[in-house]
């Protein structure tokens, strides 16, 4: 007997900006990230249809901006009503390649997001002219 297959279409977003690719994330924050001389970390809040609800600078300055308290990331996302988030940080070296530590932090934040019901959809490293997407590289569990 043939089984019926339900095709689930992604929900449409009513947001003005929709993230279809990491390039969209890059374009969203490139102007802000360009030329910064120290590390910054942003959180982009997405709805179920990948529409951008907003974004927030989480940390900047001295200590490694990637290593912020997860509460700062996920509590803000929850307050914004985000269904999922994208993490974005800049590499002042202008080399977009992800380090082992970038990977570890991505995995830890993804695990934390899963446990809080707000998955990390992607983690994008940006430089002035390039980006690296963990999702595009298949180095983050596909979410959303």
């Amino acid at each position: 007997m043939a089984q019926s297959r339900e095709v689930i279409e992604p929900r449409q977003s009513k947001a003005e900006v929709v993230v279809d690719s990491p390039e969209d994330v890059f374009l969203l924050l490139a102007a802000k990230a360009s030329g910064l001389d120290h590390a910054h970390l942003w959180r982009v809040d997405l709805d179920l249809g990948n529409g951008v609800l907003g974004y927030e600078l989480i940390a900047s300055g001295g200590h490694d901006a990637r290593m912020v308290h997860p509460l700062l990331i996920f509590r803000g996302a929850q307050a914004a009503g985000a269904a999922k988030i994208v993490l974005v940080h800049n590499h002042v070296s202008q080399m977009p390649a992800a380090s082992d530590e970038d990977q570890a932090i991505t995995d830890i934040m993804a695990a934390f997001g899963d446990s809080r019901g707000i998955p990390v959809y992607d983690h994008v490293i940006v430089t002035k002219t390039a980006y690296f997407s963990f999702k595009e590289a298949g180095r983050i569990a596909a979410q959303g």
């Binding site: 001295g62 200590h63 490694d64 901006a65 912020v68 509460l71 996920f74 940080h89 934390f112 446990s115």
Partner: protein, 173 residues
Amino acid sequence: MSTTAPQKVFEFALKMEADGERFYRALAADCKDRGIRQIFNSLADDELRHSEALRQLEQDVVPVLKRTTVLTDARNVFADMARQAFLAVGQDEAALYRQALVMETSSRDLYQAQARQTKSKSARKMFLLLAQEEERHRFLIEVISDFSAGPEAWLQRKEYERLDDSREPEPEN
């Protein structure tokens, strides 16, 4: 005697690292979760390596410090934790995590201060490296602490405020 920092600074830092090692070994010994126990032992190993680097620096030997892998080692532990129930942590253990956070923050700040004060380039590099390692430790403890707190406690906690943006920049990210 070293020219890279006052002797009393080395004595204080060495005691701090020794206290840290003992603290994490004790936490590991009492920890029921195998993954977290492994992280605490790694943190203790790191503090021991820091002591060795400080002793080299004290003797004006250019120290060698292999970078910590505690974050990358912890990846799978957190993935497992996300799939499982939250850690059951009692009040005593939560207090110990807070104590660990204070320790790591104090260590980081001490090494950053020494990096600013020393005139030796190699000593500055080493103090900054030590500060970075303590920052990684602090981050790990925070994440463990939050996993332990559970979602309800997480929603209710208010003590964490926005990070101060006025911190001193580091050369690399």
